[in-house]
């Protein structure tokens, strides 16, 4: 019987070797550029928003913890802003791009997924649910997001990032930006 096992294992490894290795070359910066080109025909230059002491309590309330960076990079054109944000699902950070148009999410895209399970959060069918979502008075999304069984933690991380982007949008819009 183990003869068959050996054959199967050999086949498995052969399959692994032949499998496309798109991922190994996947580059977060290239994904970010692709996301920006999709969002803005002509991507504007990036700006920075520093998370100061006055921002921190609100961010903590949205995420349940501090954001792990002091500076957030974003892109703004008219009433639209685009954000690249990180949040841990179960063990590893998920990098997500979010475009906010006038206080509502226009699109969301996973730029890097590093968890071993729950990869379905990257699917367009899942992400489509966030389009049009805004923040309610209680700082919650104004709509229910159907989860993915076995990926509860990743779904929750995505929801937190959606809320964070919606909260950041007016901060960027208010920020005085000298020409």
């Amino acid at each position: 019987m183990f003869h068959l096992t050996r054959k199967l294992v050999r086949l498995l490894f052969l399959f692994c070797l032949l499998a496309p290795s798109r991922a190994q070359t996947a580059d977060l910066e290239a994904e970010t550029q692709r996301f920006l080109t999709e969002a803005f025909t002509q991507p504007p230059p990036s700006s920075s928003l520093w998370l100061t002491a006055e921002h921190k309590p609100a961010v903590r309330a949205l995420l349940g913890h501090d954001y792990p960076a002091a500076r957030l990079r974003y892109w703004r054109s008219g009433r639209r802003t685009a954000w690249v944000l990180d949040e841990i699902g179960k063990e590893m950070p998920i990098t997500v791009g979010v475009v906010v148009d006038d206080g509502r999410i226009e699109r969301m895209r996973v730029l890097a997924y590093r968890e071993s399970r729950g990869w379905e959060v990257q699917s367009p069918n899942f992400l489509r649910q966030f389009a049009g979502a805004g923040l309610s008075g209680e700082q919650q999304l104004d709509r229910a997001i159907d989860g993915i069984s076995g990926a509860t933690l990743s779904v929750r991380a995505m929801t937190r990032l959606a809320k964070l982007a919606l909260w950041l949008h007016p901060q960027a819009m208010q920020k005085a930006s000298p020409p």
Binding site: L12, A19, S21, P68, E91, S116, D146
Partner: protein, 417 residues
């Protein structure tokens, strides 16, 4: 002497000159002062503009410096995340646990009731990320609080290395959970309804079910995932009437690895809130060659999970076929069960459920005895936090003749982090 009045024209001209002079003289003096002041203001404005320009330049430089510093900090931080230079950053801990109170009356005449409290499971997760592609994951469990007099257990339920070959393909090796059913891989108490895990997955799949071997996970796109595994097999025994739950070798010392098992699962989760999956497993010899009257075995499992808004539905079927005259003689050549569990979430914190379960570990006709169990559960989950749950349910069982039949209620608390 006569006094002649001046000619009126002269008077008019003199007056006009006087008025003009009166108006023009001060005007001349004021015009010179405004010009000076304007010049002074212009000079001041130019100075302010220059200062402003210089300040803007300084601000820009400060911004650039701050950005550069920020980038540097982020770079260092991201190196910490991705290269996992620090052991602490690369190692994750977590856990879950559940305490159960069973208040169940045994309706079998003379049977003992089950009125017990039990810290059923206390689990510690530990994972380590060696690099972006290679990770380790483990789950260590204390069951029933203590290990004493054949009761309770310390179990290593998972301990495997997972290697991501590509974003869509990974291979794991070690001790891992068999990809079958709903609860076997996702069984933290806050993720399911009911104090106890459902009896169908417990008796038929049988959860929690881990084996040693290698497994492959391929993400095929469009929501499809394919899992394949070659692992140690079961060791069923005639003394247990070939019940699959008792046949798990659990990788304890002496686990026989003569006759492996092959598992394949196809899962579709292409729509949010929906999962459809099917598993087939082939056991090359379900007794590891220890029983000449038995042989191979096949498991077929399929389930659906649908969560749309407040409504939820879980439905699962699992069935075994065991070859050989030995299992057939006691009806264990067929072991199967199914359940349907509709649920409704009142809000984020409260959910109601009902479940109908049916299972039979001697469903084959060989013994000519009705051996099937039926159980109805209904209850409520309360999540004070998404990771913490308090549960209550009512249980109504219908057991075969001569078997324990437990009716009553269960209360539980559970957590994960």
């Amino acid at each position: 002497m006569s006094y002649r009045l001046p000619h009126p024209r002269f008077v008019r001209t003199t007056l006009a000159l006087a008025v003009y002079g009166a108006l023009a003289m001060p005007a001349f003096a004021v015009g010179s002062s405004v010009e000076d002041r304007l010049k002074a203001l212009e000079a001041r404005l130019a100075q302010i503009e220059s200062e402003n320009h210089s300040l803007k330049q300084q601000l820009k430089q400060t911004d650039q410096k701050a950005d550069a510093a920020g980038e540097q900090v982020e770079k260092i931080a991201s190196q910490g995340i991705t290269s996992k230079a620090s052991w602490a950053d690369a190692t994750q801990f977590g856990g879950y646990g559940e305490l159960h109170l069973n208040q169940l009356k045994n309706d079998k005449p003379g049977g003992a009731d089950k009125k017990e409290m039990d810290f059923h499971r206390f689990v510690i997760f530990m994972g380590h990320q060696f690099n972006d592609r290679l990770r380790f994951f483990s789950e260590l469990e204390v069951e029933h609080n203590t290990v004493e007099g054949g009761k309770g257990a310390v179990e290593l339920e998972q301990a495997y290395l997972d290697f991501m070959l590509t974003d869509n393909l990974s291979v794991k090796a070690g001790n891992f959970l068999i990809p079958a059913g709903i609860l076997n891989e996702t069984h933290e108490p806050n993720t399911f309804y009911g104090v106890e895990r459902n009896p169908v997955e417990n008796k038929i799949i049988p959860t929690t079910w881990w084996e040693g071997g290698v497994g492959l996970t391929a993400r095929l796109g469009n929501g499809f995932t394919l899992d394949g595994a070659v692992t140690t097999g079961m060791k069923a025994d005639a003394a247990d009437k070939y019940a699959v739950r008792a046949a798990r070798q659990a990788l304890r010392e002496g686990t026989q690895a003569k006759n492996p098992a092959y598992t394949a699962r196809l899962k579709w989760a292409g729509l949010p809130g929906v999962e459809l999956a099917g598993t087939v497993q082939y056991q090359s010899d379900v007794t590891q060659g220890n029983d000449a009257t038995a042989g191979g075995a096949k498991l077929l499992e399929t389930h659906a999970i649908v969560n749309q808004g407040r409504f939820g539905l879980r439905a699962l079927y699992a069935g075994w076929r065991l070859d050989g005259s030995g299992p057939k003689a006691v009806g264990a050549d067929r072991q199967n069960g199914w359940y349907v569990e509709p649920s409704f979430k009142l809000n984020d914190a409260w959910g109601l459920f009902a479940r109908y379960n049916r299972w039979d570990n001697q469903a084959g006709g060989g013994d000519g005895v009705d051996s099937s169990y039926r159980q109805f559960d209904a209850g409520v989950n309360y999540w004070p936090h998404p990771d913490v749950v308090v549960k209550f349910d009512l249980q109504r069982q219908k057991a075969p003749m001569g078997k324990d039949e437990f009716n009553g209620f269960n209360v539980g608390i559970g957590y994960r982090f």
